[in-house]
Symmetry: C2
Subunit: 410 residues, 2 copies
C-alpha cells in the first residue's frame, strides 16, 4: 500500500475554502457567515478569513442583508456566477455537443455539430472553432474560462490522454485528443469517459436528494455505467470504470464476438433493440443499415409506437427493460449503492416504459432487498448530460473539496 502523507495548515486552508465555496454554491440563495458556521462546522474566525479571500478573488459577492431581530444584520454571500466558466465537449459517433457553463453550472451557451464521416484532425479543428464561437457569442472574457472538458466513449488511455477505439468513428485509433485540442485551443483540456462525465454532471447539478451513493447507467450508442459515493464519482484506476458491454443479461440472446451470448452489447444497445423490433415486425419498411443516424431514427420510431400503445413495439421495450433490470441488478449487487439514475441521449424516449418496468424485477433480484428498496430515477440533466458533465469535471476540479487534496505531496 502506498504510504499516506500527512497534512498541514496551508492544505487545510485550501480544503476549507473549497468546503465553504461548495456550501455557498449548493445553497442557491446564498448563506450568511453564521449559516456557514453551522453548515461547515468551521469556526467564525475561519469563515471570516476565508470568505474575505473569496470576496477578494471575486468568486463570491455580498448579496443583501437580512435583519433578524436585534444585533447586526446578516450579510448573504453568494457565488458570482460569471466569475469563472468552463467548456464541455461531448464526442459521440453521431454528434458533438458543446456547452459553456458558468460557476453555478448553468449553460450560457450551447452548440451541436454533426460528426459523420470526418477524420480526427478535421474534428479537432471543428472543435477548436466551435469553442471559440461559443465564447465569442457569450461575450465573456476568455481568461475567465477555467478549461475545456471532453467526454468521449471509453476505453481511454487516460495517462496519454488518448481515445483508444471509439465505436463508429473510423480513423480514431489512439487519437491523442487531450494534447491536440489543448494545442488547438490554448486551454487546459481534461479528457474523461462520457459515462463518468455524465455522473459528475448529475452529482454537480443534482439537488440535495442526490445524497448517498448512486449508480448511473448511461444509455448512448453503447451502454456504460458510473458510480458516485461520498460526494465523488469513482473514476477507476485508469479512468475506465464502468465497462459493462460484456455482462450477460439474456442466456437465450444472440451470440457475441466475445464468445458468450446475450451480452449487453448485443442485447441492450439502441442498435440491438432496433434489430429486436425489426424481428418482431414493428416496422413496415425494410432495415436501412446500421449507421448511427439510421439507428437513431428507427429507435425513435419504435419508442413513438410504444407510446401510442402499439403492442408489438411495447412488447419489445418491455423485454428490453427486463434485460436492463438484469444488468442493473448485477451492478447494484456488486457496488452496493443507494439509488439508480438512468440517463444519456437515448434515455428520454425510453423513460416512461423503463421507469414502470424496471423497479419490480430489480427489487426481486436485489441482494439487499431485506434491508432496503432501491429507487430508480431519470437523470436531472437531459440529452446534453455528456457535455454538461464534461464541463462539470472542469468546474469540479476548481470547486469541490476533496480530502485527497489534504495530503502533502511526495
Amino acid at each position: 500500500m502506498g504510504m499516506r502523507r500527512g497534512t498541514n495548515l496551508p492544505r487545510m486552508g485550501d480544503f476549507n475554502q473549497s468546503v465553504i465555496l461548495e456550501a455557498i454554491r449548493r445553497s442557491g440563495e446564498g448563506l450568511s457567515r453564521i449559516e456557514l458556521v453551522e453548515a461547515t462546522g468551521l469556526s467564525a474566525q475561519t469563515i471570516t478569513n476565508i470568505t474575505r479571500r473569496l470576496l477578494d478573488e471575486g468568486l463570491i459577492a455580498e448579496a443583501g442583508r437580512t435583519i433578524n431581530g436585534p444585533g447586526k444584520p446578516r450579510v448573504t454571500l453568494r457565488l458570482v456566477a460569471e466569475s469563472r466558466f468552463s467548456v464541455g465537449v461531448h464526442l459521440d459517433p453521431a454528434v458533438i455537443t458543446f456547452v459553456l457553463l458558468n460557476m453555478t453550472g448553468e449553460a450560457v451557451g450551447r452548440r451541436v455539430v454533426r460528426t459523420q464521416d470526418r477524420d480526427p484532425s478535421a474534428i479537432v479543428e471543428t472543435m477548436a472553432k466551435t469553442i471559440e464561437i461559443l465564447i465569442d457569442e457569450a461575450g465573456i472574457d476568455r481568461n475567465l474560462v477555467a478549461g475545456v472538458g471532453v467526454a468521449a466513449p471509453g476505453p481511454l488511455d487516460a495517462a496519454k490522454g488518448t481515445v483508444i477505439d471509439p465505436p463508429k468513428l473510423d480513423g480514431w485509433h489512439r487519437v491523442p485528443l487531450r494534447s491536440v485540442l489543448a494545442e488547438a485551443t490554448g486551454f487546459e483540456v481534461t479528457l474523461e469517459k462520457d459515462t463518468t462525465a455524465a455522473a459528475v454532471g448529475e452529482l454537480w447539478t443534482g439537488d440535495a436528494t442526490s445524497e448517498g451513493s448512486f449508480l448511473f447507467v448511461y444509455l448512448g450508442t453503447g451502454l456504460g455505467a458510473a458510480a458516485a459515493r461520498d460526494g465523488g464519482v469513482v473514476a477507476g484506476s485508469t479512468h475506465n470504470f464502468g465497462e459493462i458491454g460484456h455482462i450477460m443479461v439474456d442466456p437465450e440472446g444472440p451470440p457475441c464476438a466475445c464468445g458468450s451470448r446475450g451480452c449487453v452489447e448485443v442485447v441492450c444497445t439502441p442498435q440491438a433493440i432496433v434489430e429486436q423490433a425489426e424481428a418482431a415486425g414493428v416496422f413496415d419498411d425494410e432495415p436501412q443499415g446500421g449507421g448511427a443516424n439510421e439507428v437513431d431514427e428507427r429507435f425513435l420510431r419504435l419508442c413513438e409506437r410504444a407510446s401510442a400503445g402499439e403492442l408489438p413495439a411495447l412488447g419489445v421495450l418491455r423485454r428490453s427493460a427486463g434485460h436492463l433490470a438484469v444488468l442493473i441488478s448485477v451492478l447494484t449487487n456488486v457496488l452496493d449503492v443507494d439509488r439508480v439514475v438512468l440517463g444519456g441521449p437515448f434515455w428520454g424516449p425510453l423513460s416512461d416504459v423503463y421507469l414502470r418496468e424496471i423497479p419490480e424485477p430489480l427489487h426481486r433480484r436485489s441482494a439487499t432487498r431485506a434491508v432496503r428498496t432501491l429507487t430508480v430515477d431519470g437523470a436531472v440533466v437531459g440529452d446534453d448530460v455528456g457535455a454538461v458533465g464534461a464541463a462539470c469535471v472542469v468546474l469540479d476540479a476548481v470547486l469541490t473539496p476533496r480530502a485527497s487534496d489534504l495530503y502533502l505531496e511526495d
Copy 2:
C-alpha cells in the same frame, strides 16, 4: 449531495498521528524521526510532538540508535506489538475460526470450532467462551484488547448488526450477532461481511506490492468479491458490497432459482464444481449429499486428482477456471482495478490450476487490455483470511488514517 464539513487543528492532529503510526507499522524495522519527516511530508516539529504522545501511550518505543556519520545518532521508533490486541472471528457454515492478533497483525492465538447443527444462542455462547480461552492462553491483559471483529456471510443488516440469512446455517434468520456477542463478551463488536473482512486482511498484512487498487475474489461456501482502492476497502453503502451470486458466467449452465441460468451460484461454488465432477465421472463412489463437510471432502478429492494429473478432474477444474475468468472480467471491467487477488478457504487447492488458466482469458476479455495487463495473485493470508481480516477490521479502525476522520462532525 451531503454537505462537506470542514476540518480543524485537533482533527488534523489525529489524522497525522494515524499517518505516523501507519508509516512506523509498515516499515517493519522501525523509522527514525528524520525518516518519518521524509515518509509523511510532515514537519520535524510535528513529528516530534506526535511521536512523544505515541511514546507516552506505549504504542511505540525507542528501539536502538543508528550513528550515521557526525551529528546526533538517530533513534529508531518501532511499533510495540504487544500494546494492543484484537480478536477476529469467522463464522462459516462448516467451522468458526478465531484468531488473536497483536498490533503488527501477527497471530498470537488461534482456535477452530466445528459449527454443524448448532442453534444461534449455542453458537454465541461457544464464541464467547472461545474468545475468553484465547485471551487466557495468550496470557494478555484483557484491557489491551481493542475489540472483536466478526466476519459473516452476507448480506448483512449492518445498521442493526444482524446476519440476515446465512447459507446452510438453519435458524440464523436475522440474528443480531453484534449486540448478543457484545453482551456475552463485554467487548465492542464489529460485524463485517466475510469477503470485505478478507480484503481488509489482505490490505493490512500485504506488503508494498499491494499498492493501488485490487479486486479480491473470495472462494468460500459461496463466492463473494471485495475491492480496495486508495488504501481502503470499499464497504458499500449498506456494507454489502460484492454480492456476485447471480452474475451469469455460462449461458449453457444449469437453471438458477433467480430465473436465469449459468449464474455464479450454480456454476462456480465448491458444491457446483463437485456436481460437475460427479457428472464427469471423476469419483468412483456415489454422491454423499450436500452437507458442508461432504462437499469439502469431495472438493478436496477432486483437486487432489487434478494435481495427480487425472484428466477428467483436470478438465473439470479447467472449465471452472474459465467460468471464474468470465466472472473476474465482469468485475474488473466494471471496477477498473489494477490487480486481482484470489483467496478464501477453497483457494489453496485450486491455486495451481487457476493461476495457470485464468490470466489468458481474463486479458482477452479485459476492456483495458490496450493500456495494461491485469495481474492475478493468490492472497497473502491463507485459510484464516476471514478471521484475520475480521481482527484487522478492528486494528484498522485504531491504526489506519482515513481522510474522512478529518471532517468535523454534524
